[in-house]
Symmetry: C2
């Protein structure tokens, strides 16, 4: 089932990754030029399913960290993720045999292809977040027992830092501090594990899902069909099985600050057409909770995606604008992300939310007037 991801696939991959980004993970189009350049030089990159991994493969998670608002302004030069990987490999005394995104949402879905192209390594079809999350401990890798450390970071000036922390939370805390001092953004390599472990702890098939969702939206647009209906239909036979129209309207209020290295804030959407009242969406890089008429309509780790109301193009937190017309889609997180262990690490309480997790499909719909 190994397939090749080519330059021509990159646009679909980015669009699908932006859907799973749920507002965060970094704008996937920003890093795209760098990845495209690497693919142009190295050719296609192999995408392999988790079950194809050798049990004794050395799989390393790679990506970038930093506030999305800074990611927009600081375009990476493209070598940092490779330097981060090399720093980790030097510590392990072993070369990686495959890379995996720690986060399939946003620009971090593309970084493994950059590393894959530059290093001739396959990319594993899966990830540790099944979406985007703001912190490094919010990984199924961590939930199911893989050590985040050693974590290697690199910046565009080739400064490198290796962290060996007592917990994934401490690794996040130290790495975030380093990333801030590296100019607000750093590339990293972490959660080194063998193939047998990767099969057990990864959210499966998330990169092929990104490719598929990106393609579904594009093709619906090309044939002037409804891209939202196509997106929801495409989810049905995946492990992200429930897609739901949550709301549609115009952004009438927007509060957004960069605090502690995160983009934190809230957007209020005034209903248009058949949608009445206001939906508010709270975010910390990613959209965390959607409320309407005093009811929770979707809550983390389920996915809350804001898309352009006309084109179904996903909108990242930092691109939200007053007056923008958006459609909000909820997507159920896969079962591996809804276990009690998983919810303890990236459920609502991990973000300071008082509301308990309730599956999207069990919540009342905002309905239409």
């Amino acid at each position: 089932m190994a397939s090749k991801v080519t330059l021509a696939d990159l646009e679909d991959l980015c669009r699908g990754a932006a859907v799973l980004g749920t507002g965060g993970g970094g704008d996937p189009y920003v890093g795209r030029l760098v990845v495209a350049q690497a693919m142009r030089e190295a050719g296609a990159v192999e995408l392999i399913a988790l079950e194809e991994l050798d049990d004794d493969a050395l799989v390393v998670a790679v990506g970038n960290m930093g506030a999305p608002t800074i990611l927009i302004e600081k375009i990476p030069n493209g070598d940092e993720p490779v330097w981060a990987l090399e720093t980790l490999e030097a510590r392990l005394g072993r070369r990686a045999t495959a890379v995996i995104p720690f986060e399939a949402g946003g620009s971090n879905a593309t970084i493994p292809f950059l590393v894959g192209a530059k290093r001739g390594l396959p990319v594993v079809d899966g990830d540790g977040m099944g979406r985007a999350f703001p912190e490094l401990q919010m990984e199924t890798f961590n939930v199911y027992g893989v050590s985040a450390s050693p974590v290697a970071l690199a910046d565009p000036h080739r400064n490198r830092v290796l962290i060996e922390a007592r917990s994934a939370e401490m690794a996040e805390w130290l790495a975030r501090g380093v990333a801030i001092r590296m100019g607000g953004r750093a590339s990293l390599a972490e959660y080194a594990m063998d193939g047998a472990t990767a099969k057990r702890v990864s959210v499966p098939a998330t990169l092929s899902l990104c490719l598929n969702l990106g393609g579904v939206i594009r093709r619906a647009r090309e044939r002037h069909a409804d891209p939202f209906a196509a997106l929801i239909a495409a989810l049905a036979d995946t492990h992200y099985s429930h897609g739901r129209d949550l709301f549609s309207g115009k952004i009438v209020d927007l509060v957004r600050t960069t605090t502690r290295g995160f983009a934190i804030g809230e957007a209020a959407i005034e209903g248009l057409g058949r949608w009445r009242g206001r939906m508010t969406i709270t975010f910390q890089n990613e959209n965390l909770i959607a409320r309407h008429a005093g009811e929770v309509r979707a809550i983390v780790p389920d996915l809350i995606c804001m898309l352009d109301a006309d084109t179904a193009e996903p909108i990242t937190t930092e691109r939200l604008r007053y007056g923008q017309r958006v459609r909000v889609i909820g997507i159920s997180a896969p079962p591996i992300m809804r276990t009690p262990e998983a919810l303890a690490v990236f459920g609502p309480a991990a973000f300071g939310l008082d509301e308990p997790f309730r599956p999207l499909e069990s919540l009342p719909e905002a309905g239409a007037g």
Copy 2:
């Protein structure tokens, strides 16, 4: 010329190191209990002169970093410097054969004895600052071409970080960020070098100077002699040859804040006895410049030491108090610290001071009325 430093020497060492601390470097008495415990368990520690080092020895600089105001409140558990050294050794693939203080002023003069006792290693009689300085690039090691990186840091919870930075300044910037996130203080191991290099780039004999100065002050007190005169006399045949009475009086104003991990501020002293007018002393952890009657009386890297006016006990920046009676002594830095290369790294401009460096012995004295 190898000698043994025993538990009985520790008090003199700390007092002398506090003189070279020029207000900073951490209160040497705080870490003393931990060092004493290690010496009690392991016995005396060998102190070897630079010239006794094998040219192919592996010398590693060890110490702590953090705001002195935090060092007072957070007493180390004593294993962190060893963990930092081990982290560096793992990266180098080689065990250290000797340790050296990166800073002979303040508590960092004692840390190598802690590591020496715990690891059975000799301590080299010299250091990289010849006093205390607030930042890691302010080292003769750096001035004369040794790479600060890799820098290893450890905290009391055994979190460890390894930094490989493009410059000593960037190593400082990243290490400071990590130390802040480790709770405001971290132990570190850095500036790994061979014995031949250590001989060329170190400020020599600074630990035996600390032992000697501490002993001179103690013995003068014991025989009811003038400890200040004894201190100045003891400097005459060292490479810190000029000791000078700068001022004496009462602290009448004190501004001190902890900013960016540093204790920054200014003390004003009103003259008493034969001393007229006011002396102001500006500090960033360490005392940087002493001004009186519109004239500079001493300026970094020359040493400005505030001592208790009765006992000649050195006073660290964080122990300064309104109303305290102090005597200010200036000490000339050794020639290796006054070269143009050295002044470029830790001269007045490195601290944002507009005044050029002028040797203490060439400056007009504040005089007496």
